[in-house]
Symmetry: C2
Subunit: 318 residues, 2 copies
């Protein structure tokens, strides 16, 4: 039997799972902390992969979803901000030498898009747009049944488009990016600012507020919180209208923690999409939906990538 190993690497933990052929349920899945007093993150990665290695069969390929920026063509981590020492790490080469099987690497938002397309909400679609809204906004695009990577594998930074050059500062240092209006961080920052300016709210005023708390308060009827979700949804919807003009997908999938706010976000988003779209034709046969996989999206994408070995998905261009 020939297995595939999928790995999702984050700043806090790494998860590895071993999948039997044609199944979406792993035979075994293990998690491990990324940081450790006496082991490097790369040694931790070796360890967690080894821990799911099947006793009774062969591994056809390993694929790793990791935070960017990275080079999916060469399989190199360029600079993972949350993982100490991971600058220019030739992950593919290292793992191929260590485990002696083909290895592929993809950035986590791209992998989530790939996973949703292959196994989740986007199944059967040929043109898929995927957003993950959490502390930041990331994304991925499937065009004509292929993952959009770009010349250097740095495409679909979908949160980093300027939607108002006089807007608030983005985490990346630029001003007025979509991420600075509609991410979880942006929702919390806007609420904080409104509270400082004296807005009425049921939210606590003496400790930090996050987007999850805002969504909960909105659900309970807090006006300020409803306004905050509405504002984020509207900016998101307006940006999605622009993205429809750019990509003309047949499905838009929204994942990430903030998407759990549901209609608090989707309702204003839908309205803004209708308001800002160039012609209603872009909305005909368009599906707007939440992601099928929550925290497993990256892992499922890594599985899809592992199973596409020969690895054409990343290897067609170079």
């Amino acid at each position: 039997m020939s297995y595939h190993i999928a790995v999702d690497v984050g700043g806090t933990q790494m998860r590895a799972a071993c999948f039997p052929p044609d199944q979406l349920k792993p035979l075994v899945i293990n998690r491990i902390s990324t940081r450790h007093p006496s082991e490097t993150p790369l040694e931790r990665l070796h360890r967690v992969i080894a821990s799911v290695w099947p006793q009774d069969g062969e591994v056809a390929a390993i694929a790793v979803a990791a935070p960017g920026p990275l080079d999916p063509y060469r399989g190199v981590i360029l600079a993972a901000p949350n993982i100490p020492g991971w600058i220019n790490v030739p992950l593919r080469q290292d793992l191929e030498q260590h485990f002696n099987v083909p290895v592929a690497l993809g950035n986590d938002a791209n992998m989530a898009a790939l996973g949703e397309w292959m196994y989740g909400a986007g199944k059967g679609h040929h043109h898929v747009l995927y957003f993950t809204i959490s502390t930041g906004i990331g994304g991925g695009a499937i065009i004509d049944d292929r993952l959009l990577l770009g010349a250097q594998g740095m495409a679909t930074e979908l949160g980093h488009i300027t939607v108002d050059q006089n807007g608030p500062l983005c985490g990346c240092g630029q001003r007025g990016h979509l991420e600075a209006f509609a991410s979880g961080t942006a929702i919390a920052a806007w609420v904080k600012q409104e509270i400082e300016q004296g807005a009425e709210t049921s939210l606590p005023k003496d400790r930090p507020v996050d987007a999850r708390m805002v969504a909960e308060a909105a659900r309970a009827g807090d006006e300020l919180s409803k306004k905050a979700m509405d504002r984020a949804g509207r900016f998101m919807g307006q940006a999605i209208a622009s993205y429809l003009h750019i990509f003309n997908p047949s499905i838009v999938i929204i994942g990430g923690g903030v998407s759990r706010a549901g209609d608090l976000l989707f309702e204003p988003m839908r309205r803004a999409m209708h308001e800002y779209v160039l012609t209603p034709r872009y909305l005909e046969n368009l599906t707007l939906t939440t992601a099928a996989f929550g925290d497993d999206a990256g892992l499922m994408g890594a599985l899809a990538l592992a199973r596409s070995t020969g690895l054409e998905v990343v290897d067609t261009v170079k």
Copy 2:
């Protein structure tokens, strides 16, 4: 000998050219007015194609570049605003029946992108972003050696992304699109407004000003005109930075009448790209250049499309 016929249809005129195999110089090229007192635009199209039909050989395919919106998959003109009566015209079916050869249809901005990629400035690149800046802003994208069309063939309306929701009205009726800041129309409108508010200029105050006049005046040292070109270039450069984050191309090609302004536009554009890009890596190995084909871009793209018969370029998806 097997020829390909390329046609470029505009609101004022249609041009048809017959190309021998492997050549970029047509055997014959004819133009004809689109409107005529006793013939419909479709009859005019038949006439101009027949006029370039080769005596001594076969025609392998015909491809037509036409103003959108259109459906490249079905070969149907949906609504050509400048051509009387062209609403839901099944152009492919009509021409295939009339001439008994395979026919393909593409929108003119997409065709220009295809032409520049196959034969012009983008030759050899795998990820190409093309903009045409004239009265409006259109575009096209080559991703992984394939033209981006989208689920319904309506992708890459690159001028219609919101860059400032409080910005000026766009020709499409929405507010603050890139086209409303950086097109020829937008340049002329901004200058007109500044003149009305009393700005000093060498431009005429008693008759309409267009972008070409503004570019000329800027070249001659007129401060208001220099400012106008600088403003358009900066907005364009900032939008291109966003597009680099989305597509990560290896080349950006700028065509259309306004691109003839040269450094007046390219200089501020380049500066804004550097200023607004997420990381300088997006600019490494990136070429920014003017289009190789001027008014022939659509025709050369139609040639590329005709030569890809079996027509996989448009037929892969549906």
